[in-house]
């Protein structure tokens, strides 16, 4: 299913609220697939506005978004943009099953009556098997755990065969095992040439699976490879006072690096700077080389 590399261009996009204030000012960045790119910024920094302009929900007052050179509207008609919503946005009491939700990814490819073809059914089964949710296909979506819920909506994006996949806070309410499973899946999709844009508070996991980062605070402060952009300086700039800093001295961290480290956290999972740049603090044991490996992969 590997096609020509996909390309997402956001050029000088400004978006205004109804009251005339700018939610986003002159935001620009380029991504081409496959990549996993983190979208990092405080609440109210314009992350969701940026998502909305990529999905064509808001019309920029200036600038434009193009996907493979085509306007967003055209890209949507081709079903190339897939969106995995936050858990809070979903009505979990709605009477639909796991398979029903995955099938919703196929609607754009169905006929006028939206009656699933054999291909649609195969794609849904493949997608659900890929996220290990096939055995739960007849469950009502409210009867799933947090991790399972997330995987159902990922399956929908897979069934849709989206090439630009937007994920909003994919790790909130998700157990560590599922988080790892999601990360593995995203890396497979990257290998297939997809552009994956992940909006996240989870700074600690960013260096582990994102090869690029877009830093945002009402505009794009910087974008590029994680190792260049996701630095302490830039993060302090992006988050201003909203980021908690913890400075641990030698005595507290002997077991780790034998020297000082600094912890930056915006949410539950902290970002730790140490000897080799970014380190995953809590799961570090036995995975000391993971960042080096990731770098070689991309």
């Amino acid at each position: 299913m590997t096609e020509a590399p996909f390309d997402l261009a956001v050029e000088g996009v400004s978006v205004a609220y109804a009251n005339g204030h700018l939610a986003l000012r002159d935001a620009s960045f380029h991504l081409s697939g496959g990549t996993i790119c983190a979208l990092v910024g405080v609440n109210g920094s314009g992350k969701s506005t940026l998502f909305k302009s990529i999905m064509g929900f808001v019309k920029p007052v200036s600038g434009h978004v193009t996907i493979n050179g085509a306007a967003v509207k055209v890209a949507l008609k081709r079903n190339v943009v897939a969106y995995v919503p936050q858990a809070e946005e979903v009505d979990w009491d709605f009477p639909v099953s796991v398979a029903d939700v995955a099938m919703m990814g196929r609607y754009g490819r169905m006929n006028f009556l939206r009656i699933p073809s054999a291909t649609d059914k195969t794609k849904v089964e493949e997608a659900l098997r890929r996220v290990s949710m096939w055995d739960f296909r007849d469950r009502q979506i409210g009867e799933l755990s947090g991790g399972q819920k997330k995987r159902v909506f990922l399956a929908r994006a897979l069934a849709q065969e989206g090439r630009v996949i937007l994920l909003d806070e994919p790790f909130t309410g998700v157990d560590v095992k599922t988080e790892q499973a999601i990360i593995d899946l995203l890396r497979e999709l990257r290998a297939e040439g997809c552009i994956i844009l992940v909006s996240t508070h989870n700074l600690g996991s960013v260096p582990e699976f994102c090869d690029q980062v877009v830093l945002i605070n009402r505009t794009v402060l910087g974008y590029g490879p994680t190792s260049e952009v996701f630095t302490e300086d830039n993060l302090s700039k992006a988050f201003g006072g909203a980021l908690r800093h913890f400075h641990f001295e030698h005595s507290t961290v002997q077991d780790h690096d034998g020297r000082a480290i600094r912890v930056l956290t915006d949410d539950e999972r902290p970002l730790v700077f140490g000897k080799d740049g970014h380190l995953e603090y809590k799961d570090r044991e036995g995975r000391e080389d993971i960042l080096r490996q990731r770098e070689e992969e991309t």
Partner: protein, 288 residues
């Protein structure tokens, strides 16, 4: 005795009215699936009252009542949007103000021209007694609604469940929402003839709410609510012949009975099932 029970079936006009009533009930039942899940109950109530002045004007001028009802529904929706956008008043208050204003205007018009419009008919409906041309309008609206819903229910389900997904797939989400609202207005008008302005909201909510207690699948929910709407309306219209024409009352009482049965005995979401679960210290089937 038996001959008595069969009387309605010997009169063509009664038989026709009973079947038209079932058709209206089916259309309302189908739509009630969306109304309950979207939380549009108040909207349905509002529209059923807001069309009253339109219906009154149509009768006064001798026009098809559908025309006046349509214009009134349009004006009412417009007024709600306007008040909502231009003031700090909340949505439920806005709906409350607009629909009572329209309804009040309707009452004034009707009392001014008592010979042209029957207030009792508008408030309580009279499907067994309405004229031939009105029956045709009611039947046409209901059939059209059923047709549109039958063809596009999957799109409407997606828009109700996840409008963002509908839009990312390039579906005309806003247009589909309007379609649903238009169908709601249309069925409110049709149901007005069957059960009257006061009870329309029951037709647009109860079957869907009952079905929601009985199933976790949207497709099945639609079948159940449509079937319940049609069945209760058929039986209610038939029974009302023996009860001197309180058609609306009969239909809605039957719907309420079904709701109570589901509320108590529904296998999974019923009251008894919930109690059983507590007793057995039942835990939801969660796993990671």
């Amino acid at each position: 005795m038996i001959a008595d029970l069969l009387t309605p079936f010997h009169y063509d006009y009664l038989l026709k009215a009973i079947w038209v009533s079932a058709l209206v009930g089916g259309a309302c039942g189908f739509l009630s699936a969306f109304v309950t899940l979207k939380g549009w109950s108040l909207m349905g109530d509002a529209l059923s009252h807001a069309v009253v002045p339109g219906v009154a004007v149509s009768y006064i001028l001798g026009l098809p009542f559908v025309l006046g009802a349509f214009v009134a529904a349009l004006l009412a929706s417009g007024a709600m949007v306007l008040v909502r956008a231009r003031s700090r008043i909340r949505e439920d208050a806005t709906i409350g103000i607009v629909f009572t204003s329209f309804f009040a205007l309707g009452l004034v018009l009707i009392s001014r021209f008592p010979s042209k419009v029957d207030l009792k008919m508008i408030l309580f409906g009279n499907i067994l007694g309405i004229s031939g041309s009105d029956v045709i309008q009611v039947a046409a609206i209901s059939a059209l609604t059923l047709l549109v819903l039958g063809l596009k229910w999957r799109d409407l389900m997606l828009v109700s469940f996840d409008p963002a997904q509908a839009r990312t797939l390039g579906l005309p989400a806003a247009w589909l929402q309007w379609l649903l609202l238009a169908l709601l207005s249309a069925t409110a008008v049709a149901a007005l003839q069957a059960v009257g302005a006061c009870l329309v909201v029951a037709m647009l909510v109860t079957p869907g709410a009952t079905a929601y207690l009985l199933t976790d699948r949207f497709g099945r929910l639609i079948w159940l609510s449509t079937a319940m709407g049609a069945f209760t309306s058929w039986l209610g219209a038939y029974l009302s012949y023996h009860f001197n024409g309180a058609t609306g009352g009969c239909i809605v009482v039957l719907q309420t009975l079904l709701f109570l049965v589901a509320f108590t005995f529904a296998p999974k979401h019923g009251w008894l099932a919930a109690r059983r679960r507590v007793k057995q210290d039942w835990t939801p089937p969660l796993d990671t």
